[in-house]
Symmetry: C2
Subunit: 359 residues, 2 copies
Amino acid sequence: MENRVYNFNPGPATLPLTVLQQAQSELLNYQGTGMSILETSHRAKEFEEIIIDTEALFKEITGLGDDYRVLFCQGGASQQFAMVPLNFLQSGKSADYVLTGSFAKKAYQEAQKIGAAGIAANTAPDYRRIPKPEELNFNSDAAYVHITTNNTIYGTEWHYVPETDAPLVADMSSDILSRPWDYQKFGLVYAGAQKNLGPAGVTLVLIRQDLLTEIPDNLPAMFNYATFAGNNSMYNTPPTFSIYLLRLVLRWIQEQGGLTAMGRQNQEKAALLYEVIDEDDFYRGHAEADSRSLMNVTFRLPSAELEKAFLAEAAAVGLVGLKGHRSVGGIRASIYNAMSRQGCEKLASFMHDFRKRHR
Amino acid sequence: MENRVYNFNPGPATLPLTVLQQAQSELLNYQGTGMSILETSHRAKEFEEIIIDTEALFKEITGLGDDYRVLFCQGGASQQFAMVPLNFLQSGKSADYVLTGSFAKKAYQEAQKIGAAGIAANTAPDYRRIPKPEELNFNSDAAYVHITTNNTIYGTEWHYVPETDAPLVADMSSDILSRPWDYQKFGLVYAGAQKNLGPAGVTLVLIRQDLLTEIPDNLPAMFNYATFAGNNSMYNTPPTFSIYLLRLVLRWIQEQGGLTAMGRQNQEKAALLYEVIDEDDFYRGHAEADSRSLMNVTFRLPSAELEKAFLAEAAAVGLVGLKGHRSVGGIRASIYNAMSRQGCEKLASFMHDFRKRHR
């Protein structure tokens, strides 16, 4: 595929080429049914097989058993910011939020509209790091603890799972399935699919079964996790095509060797870029070294002019989507699971070359 | 496309073949960008152009001006059942619901979880008809009036727009853009896309601008229509691929000749089937004649055995998705915009033939 670029967009993001090719090849006729999967009823056995297998695949990849369910919601992480407190914060208890970026802060602000929420730690305003265990002030009878495992905008990532008494809830939108990780320690995990799992339009929610019993029963049906769990996420029409693609991506992860292989590849890919950054002070990483993300590599150049030149020259050689978020500025290379090692090598080599020419 | 069937599924439903072909042809590389539209950032100019043009196209097709906005939400009509009252029923006023089917009833039940809701008319339990104007008991100071313009399960459809003092809210999931219709009379219209507009995964909301000012400002961001209106539906990542396909479907409607052409074609298609039903009493339509839907043609056969044989024989000749909903039973032919006249002719001819053989 010579005409494809290396796409470093933060999400929606690059997808495995083989996944796109399979979707393309069967787009007019899914497995001999004479119709597209886009046209297939969610009640048809072909789709039912997809949604059931997608849940099973996710649990297989993460090593989880019957004490967990995988739900397919909509509305992205932003809708989860409200759904989590609607389901678990109406008891009068308070929840503990760890603020490590603007999405973590938004999650906290949405919770405040619904119930009581406190701040267990806060690395504002620069969000250059993840708090250390000793900085986390958890309330012993919190309804839950909420963290954001990877902060897309700032390029920081949790490298440990905090110990909590309360159920641990995590927004994993930008690093889910990127490495082996102890999913058993989480009560609820949510992730918009458009970074590491597939296309925009489906939000994966992993929930420990016992939490389903704590949900108030007067919630609107579509805001109640129990509605999704009780109907295999088919209380109403789910986003069928997004789930179909999510399943193809999960199969691809398995074919690559699962989370162990993903973690190794992602370590190596990120190291290629951080090594260039650390060679001298031309590139300045935003994140503190021990909080660096393996998914989003954020850095500045000596001047805004050089950053502009970097983006233009990179795009000219097929390295696109590298502009940093306005709140950090500079460059952000998003290198999720589906970004190839080759893409990172090409970017690292471009960074070397650019520095040589512009120092 | 010889291997394609005629797909009478109620939704997700058949899509125009040219739309699928275009999506297929550019699935690996959207307009020379070197990436799929599935991989394109929602902040990229290519996607921004799509979402802005999709709103403009919808307003052009419906003849609406600057006093309306088109929003792209998620969660289907079921989520709208809660969002409408969350936005407009917290003032202490009551809303009037017209119950013409099980989705209308669900909308009413969700509203009751949030505020005060009354029943303006009810055709339960068989839902064979739409109430006449004189049967509608509207409360003069209602917050809004809610109707379901087409009842997919029962095969009934409103053929007039009720006169109301309060803003008129309509679930048009299964007949939006199927005919010329006075959209100016509605304050808010919502529709899951998977019947007449495109694939599952996006919910179109049409809202009259003045209603946006009545929304309480402490709502969770993703449940507030003003969040969508204020951010061109890009407060967070929208379901980009579904919106891309929705735009292709809207273009296809324009190419067909817009709502006038759609209405004429849909009249003719439905007439082909209703004529066979009315010839004698072998087929018994569920809906009363003056409430018949142009989108979902529902009927029974003399016995359950014959209905089973009908479905099997129809499938064998490439007429699929005809099984009625369990609450009505029998046969349901869903013949939305994208179902061709040819498909309806083939079904009508099959119905003739089946009757001859099994009478």
